[in-house]
Symmetry: C2
Subunit: 419 residues, 2 copies
């Protein structure tokens, strides 16, 4: 059975050469857990001990899609996860989601907007929401007893304004690639393969400017991710990112992901003085250096004081409150993207009562951790109360998901949970 | 006066080296009117006989922003266009929009998310809407008599469902670059410089997969732009794209742009047979060849018939109805982008009355032409009535704008109209 691709017209050496090359050796690409950014056309591995898209060096674009399960039968969900696994292994290798239809009178098996494109380092990372275990107080799939202890509900944090339609979901797919069309294509095919079992609940696309060259800047103009633990440090990853023997078998080697749709009041931020912006972050804008230091990579000295004894990094600066030192050693692996969803009409309810268009833009905050109770939740309990940045950022959506361990060839995502 | 950038901390040779290099020779980059895609970090010229962003080989990302003018004074509009011109010349060369504030206690002069980024071939193309000439039957700036004869109102086309908030505008900026963060940054600074004079009305961001390598595919999976006139053919461009002596002085060397937000019913399209999809376009999906031919670049033979005498390219196929031969020789220069604005809940009003999430995704159709009456309008009068594609595409926004001739150094966009 032939696949969608240039071979259809015998152009094997033509336009789609890269994709054809990837097809010849699916899964054989070398795993990349370091921080170097490989060639944009390369294929990331799909099978492995861990899911890709967690330690994978961030791609330039992401598309996150959360689904509600509408099937009532556990076997139907497992069958869909099998379809998703097979299609994901194909697409991350640069193939269509399914083998192509055998003749032109069959329904198109793939929408085809990825034809001519390389795999673009596509990764597809799957997560399970709380609703897979318990929904409306109902153990709908008989999985309630298998919900990991660490997989608590996210508490309500001060200041957040969660929009129900942009929050939660029973399943999530994080699709990332170095081309915006590739993750859109992937989610579109997976959504089609979910027919009758799961339906899209919310989606969010994002981007990183100049990815890979330097620490990316968020839309506030500041470098974001400087203090991340190094993904090249396996010990650190085992300690802070991967679930170990404390978790159930299906989560060992997996991780918990938190997505937060953090809308930024960019119009307000842009009216602030540079010095105030720098105090808010605790870093210099241009260099990214911690206040009082010279270089981005310099150690953050929370004890440094000026000649009057005042802290150089303010008490409520973002990097102070988010630091491991302020949170009992808690560390998370951030993998965030900026988003730009256009403009909306807003009538402000505070002085100067501005009425007009405001950006719906900001950060898709993404973080992975071994245990959310001692990871994101611990850190955000403090940040949500005291961070100076809160006056410019509102969390309006997202959710937390348990990303199971990686898949071996012949198995499927989450199999050990379902069988 | 120093600029935002690495020189602030004396890191001239550091992270921002590329931007600093561009800064050293703003406007000196060689004009590129051919179809080759230059290095992604290169700067496109801002000054010149024509505005950039029209013949410029398409960049990977675009961000279109339409504005309503709120000022009542013509001089205020002209002063804003001067600010826009100066800031645009700076940003396309890789600089901040304005010189940086002289000390850290001044309001930030630039939001800074472009720091560390190259110019990424940024182009900023400006257009004037009908509302600049006449609004609510009022000649508000004394410019009504200067409205070009060719700049008619777009007629209502069958099937379109224009949303008022996504349509029209008195001014437009088309920002394109090879990095999504660069056009967002540019429009954000220009919007800030418009303060009290113009306000955002609608924005739309878009992307092209694998830009520059092959004819890009739209989200229906088909190649889009195959039949475009060659931008390397100056005679063809003079004939079909650039306004000549028939136009007023400020439009000679300019062009008319039409933006159409064309939402695609992707869920419906994905259920169609491949053969039906190909008949709808009149081309093969994988190769892009016209039906009955072998290669993408093969001539479209509208007269070809099968053994029963039926046309091989159906009577209502898109490429037949859009062709110059079907439209008295009318040609336009397309420069479209795909868009992905997430999902919305839709309750269908036709069988099978599906209720659920549907994509808000499709094409930002963009075309430039010398005269819209014999360009887009002529072609779309036919397409909007008979194109098989209409059942899958709905136009919900956009507008038409007069893009004045290019700017010389020391002048500003549209000066000859205002003075």
């Amino acid at each position: 059975m032939s696949d969608w691709g240039p071979s259809r017209r015998g152009f094997l050496a033509g336009v789609g050469g890269l994709a054809a090359g990837a097809a010849a050796s699916p899964g054989l690409a070398a795993p990349k857990t370091g921080e170097a950014v490989p060639h944009a056309g390369a294929a990331e591995p799909f099978y492995g001990r861990h899911q890709s898209g967690i330690l994978t060096p961030a791609q330039s674009h992401c598309y996150v899609a959360a689904f509600d399960i509408v099937a009532t039968d556990k076997a139907a969900v497992a069958a869909m996860l099998q379809r998703w696994t097979e299609a994901s292994a194909r697409m991350t290798a640069g193939l269509s989601a399914q083998p192509r239809e055998t003749d032109a009178d069959s329904p198109a098996s793939d929408s085809g907007e990825q034809l001519d494109l390389t795999p673009a380092r596509l990764t597809l990372t799957f997560g399970f929401g709380a609703g897979l275990f318990v929904k409306d107080d109902k153990d709908r799939f008989g999985l309630a007893a298998r919900r990991p202890e660490a997989f608590v509900d996210l508490p309500h944090f001060p200041g957040e304004q969660l929009v129900e339609q942009l929050t939660g979901g029973d399943l999530v797919i994080q699709a990332c690639a170095d081309d915006p069309q590739v993750p859109f294509h992937a989610v579109r095919q997976l959504s089609r393969l979910a027919s009758e079992v799961a339906e899209l609940r919310w989606v969010q696309s994002g981007f990183i400017g100049n990815f890979g060259k330097t620490t990316p800047r968020n839309l506030m103009g500041f470098k974001d991710g400087t203090g991340n633990p190094s993904t090249a440090d396996a010990k650190l990853m085992d300690e802070h990112v991967w679930v170990g023997s404390e978790g159930p078998a299906w989560m060992r080697g997996g991780s918990y992901v938190v997505f937060r749709r953090s809308r930024m009041a960019l119009e307000h931020w842009d009216r602030m003085k540079l010095s105030f912006q720098e105090q808010t972050f605790g870093r210099e804008k241009v260099s990214g250096a911690p206040l009082g230091a010279k270089h981005e990579a310099d150690k953050v000295d929370l004890d440094a004081a000026d000649k009057d004894g005042n802290p150089i990094i303010p008490e409520n600066a973002h990097i102070r409150l988010a630091s491991a030192d302020s949170n009992g050693g808690a560390r998370i692996l951030r993998r965030s993207y900026s988003y730009n969803d256009g403009v909306n009409f807003v009538a402000e309810r505070w002085p100067p009562w501005h009425q007009g268009m405001e950006y719906d833009a900001g950060l898709i905050f993404v973080c992975f951790q071994r245990d959310p109770r001692t990871g994101f939740i611990q850190i955000n309990e403090k940040l949500s109360r005291f961070d100076m940045m809160n006056q410019f950022v509102t969390n309006i959506g997202g959710g937390m998901f348990a990303c199971p361990k990686g898949v071996e060839k012949g198995s499927y995502i989450g199999r050990e949970l379902f069988e």
